[in-house]
């Protein structure tokens, strides 16, 4: 039951109709709309890229403490992950470079839709690890007060918006990729 509901929600949120797939829609956006979509994309990209690069450049960085501080229903999964040194090497590597690639993709408007999906998945993982439930306490203090919705989820929603308004086809590398890549790439990649 649950998988069906989830797949229906995913379809509803990310379904792209033919028009959306095939045209750039430059004329369908006002300049202000394009501007704000680009600003939003660049800001999120900037955030991801910097987070990723700082970790890549620090040879000692590891997600271990963060994962060990996990709470909520998936806590054991994350703490088990943290306890496995062999696995953590891959987890750290994937997290660092996923942040960098997603960040660069959004900043440059390159494979934007793919970057949005990647970003949403990463943010979902962070949310599962550190959900903003009432009465959960984290060692790493949050910088605000949250109930269910924290900044990760706001960013996640923003990536959803960017996915369904692919303005990088107007301002960004995707403008070029849109022309040269086959149609199949349009649905989820650019």
């Amino acid at each position: 039951m649950t998988p069906i509901v989830i797949s229906k929600i995913v379809l509803l949120l990310f379904h792209c109709n033919r028009i959306n797939i095939n045209i750039t829609m430059e004329n369908n956006y006002s300049k202000a709309q394009i501007s704000w979509l680009v600003i939003l994309r660049v800001f999120i990209g900037w955030h991801f890229l910097y987070e990723g690069m700082v970790k890549v450049l620090n040879p000692y960085w590891t997600a271990k403490p963060y994962l060990m501080d996990s709470q909520g229903p998936f806590r054991t999964m994350f703490t088990d992950m943290a306890a496995n040194a062999g696995l953590m090497r891959y987890v750290d590597f994937l997290n660092e470079w996923a942040l960098v690639l997603i960040g660069a993709g959004l900043l440059l408007g390159c494979f934007t839709r793919l970057s949005c999906i990647g970003g949403i998945l990463l943010l979902l993982l962070y949310t599962f690890s550190h959900p903003s439930f009432l009465n959960t306490e984290y060692i790493m203090p949050f910088e605000g007060s949250y109930f269910w919705i924290d900044k990760n989820l706001v960013e996640l929603a923003a990536l959803g918006v960017l996915f369904v308004f692919p303005a990088a086809r107007i301002i960004g590398f995707d403008r070029f990729l849109f022309r040269v890549l086959p149609d199949g790439f349009r649905k989820f990649v650019i």
């Binding site: 910097y50 590891t62 054991t76 306890a83 070029f176 022309r179």
Partner: protein, 555 residues
């Protein structure tokens, strides 16, 4: 604008066909690329301030080496073990060997079911197979004896409904167990007043010995134990499992590299505040004069004679008894640590762990002198051993004092701290080093603001820490809360398990364990000096040449 629209028009209708790229297209495609430059500037700055400026490798040279443990040999022979004493510690030692009581396994399974975070079951199941068989057990309390035998048969680490292997023989006396031809090695977890006698007998029978701390109960037997172990050539390990704490090896390196400056004071403590912590253990149902062999509990007549002679010759009768030794008492049987008649008190039970850690880290040897004070200030339950105790040890040749401060009635945490002229180091599962504000070694770095003096500047977490930079606030935050904790090579280890593994491997590989007979002799003598100083109320000195405890004049 018009022009632009015109240009885009065909693209809109037939995007595939239009491959002509105009200047505007290029600009729109690459519009955000310059931002990468801004990002790069930020990254270079960040890296410089957050990383390079934290470098302290010039004043704080430390290797990247992780703790080294003796690794099991691939084709070691199976060692046949006998266990004496299946009380609280005996049960723990059996678990460390891979043998748990079935009822205990039930508890672990249940605990895991109700609380998924309770990992004790998984940790125990993942614990390495030490390739030992339990061939004999001995306990003078029938319930413990039977339970030990059942536990020794729990070869598959199962609960009460499990399938068991052959049960080890339950011996009624420890002498029979030691004499058994199918036992190679003996684990001694009997009360303190039996440690020495059993070790001597086992050594004479050529059996390897793992003995719980302290090594001895009386001073005279301490020499005999050392002699017996040396003469027999058996592999002897004293039960200070702290030896296997990964951080201690790094602490030793920090001292060796003189990174604390001259260490002049060591503070070690015991901070407990529960009846259990004060040795008021539960009295087990089913215990009575018919299920407990009291005669054996009384002790080895020779040892008891040594004890009586010492106590009487220094008019310490008030610390003896108060019950007659031959009078059956459940309290004295289960809570024997509360009476000098069987116990070594705080000195033997808990000071020894602290001393052994300091001895491992600083190679102190037996102190030049010991002074003690304290009393029974909280647990006025008839005990004769103090529940508050301070002992001061001096090493004038090393220009160093060690203060042991213990209370069983306050759990305020006071750490194990090595205080030096340049920095102090707090030792637990992690190491935490705080620079002294008046340090000479770190003066320059303190002035530059690289090394703080209001919080530790370096925290070592085994297997995790970088060794060339100041520990960041976040790293410190987690380390102090013990979140990053003893996973050796990615696997969680129980130190007692590692300590027994080392002993067994030394037997197989013909090596010497970390807490060998010489370390044990130092431990026992140091504890005895502290105890005698307390009992007699005067300073005890160590004559290095004669290897004897000398009394100071009474004030």
């Amino acid at each position: 604008m018009e022009k632009e629209k015109k240009e885009k028009a065909p693209e809109k209708a037939e995007p595939k066909k239009s491959s002509a790229i105009g200047r505007r297209d290029v600009i729109k495609t690459l519009a955000t690329v310059p931002l990468l430059g801004a990002m790069a500037y930020g990254l270079v700055k960040t890296r410089k301030t957050s990383f390079l400026d934290r470098d302290i490798s010039d004043v704080f040279p430390l290797s990247n080496k992780d703790a080294v443990f003796l690794q099991p040999s691939a084709e070691g022979k199976k060692i046949r073990v006998g266990l004496i004493g299946f009380g609280i510690r005996g049960k723990q030692l059996m678990r460390a060997l891979g043998y748990a009581e079935p009822s205990y396994m039930d508890t672990l399974v249940k605990a895991k079911e109700t609380n998924p975070d309770d990992t004790r079951y998984d940790v125990f199941m993942e614990q390495d197979d030490l390739n030992v068989v339990i061939n004999g057990v001995c306990d003078i309390f029938d319930i413990y004896g039977e339970s030990a035998s059942l536990t020794g048969s729990n070869i598959n680490r199962e609960g009460t409904a499990g399938k068991f292997g052959p049960a080890p023989k339950r011996y009624r006396t420890w002498q029979e167990l030691i004499a058994a031809p199918d036992i190679d090695a003996v684990v001694i977890a009997a009360p303190d007043h039996w440690h020495g006698t059993m070790t001597i007998a086992a050594a004479k029978a050529g059996k390897h010995v793992y003995c719980e701390k302290p090594m001895t109960w009386t001073v005279p037997e301490t020499y005999l134990v050392r002699q017996a172990v040396r003469d027999s050539g058996i592999v002897f390990q004293l039960g200070h499992q702290g030896r296997q704490t990964a951080g201690y090896q790094k602490a030793e390196e920090i001292i060796k590299n003189n990174l604390l400056g001259h260490v002049n004071l060591i503070q070690v403590c015991t901070n407990r505040n529960t009846p259990n912590g004060a040795w008021v253990y539960p009295i087990i149902e089913g215990s009575n004069p018919t299920t407990i062999d009291w005669k054996q509990f009384e002790g080895d007549p020779e040892r008891v004679k040594e004890y009586n002679e010492y106590m009487k010759s220094f008019r310490l009768e008030r610390y003896m008894g108060p019950d007659q030794r031959d009078k059956f008492s459940l309290e004295r049987f289960f809570r024997w640590r509360c009476w000098w008649d069987y116990s070594t008190g705080l000195s033997g039970d808990l000071l020894t762990h602290e001393y052994d850690a300091a001895n491992q880290i600083m190679h102190l040897g037996i102190p030049d002198s010991a002074t003690s004070s304290g009393g029974v200030y909280f647990f006025k339950d008839g005990r004769t051993v103090p529940d508050v105790l301070q002992t001061t040890f001096e090493w004038p040749e090393r220009n160093l004092t060690m203060l042991y401060s213990a209370t069983l009635a306050s759990s305020r945490d006071r750490g194990k701290v090595f205080m030096g002229h340049d920095a102090s180091m707090e030792v637990s599962n992690i190491l935490s080093i705080m620079a002294d504000r008046d340090s000479e070694r770190y003066a320059e770095k303190i002035k530059q603001g690289i090394i703080p003096t209001d919080s530790p500047f370096f925290t070592y977490v085994p297997g995790q820490s970088k060794v060339d930079a100041v520990t960041s606030a976040t790293e410190l935050y987690f380390a102090q809360r013990g979140l990053l904790y003893t996973y050796v090579g990615g696997k969680r280890y129980d130190t007692t398990h590692l300590h027994m593994r080392e002993w067994l491997e030394c037997i197989r590989q013909g090596q010497t364990p970390s807490c060998n007979i010489d370390q044990a002799f130092q431990e026992a003598m140091t504890a005895h000096m502290g105890t005698r100083a307390y009992l007699e109320g005067r300073t005890m000195y160590w004559d290095k040449e004669k290897e004897e405890i000398i009394r100071g004049e009474l004030a």
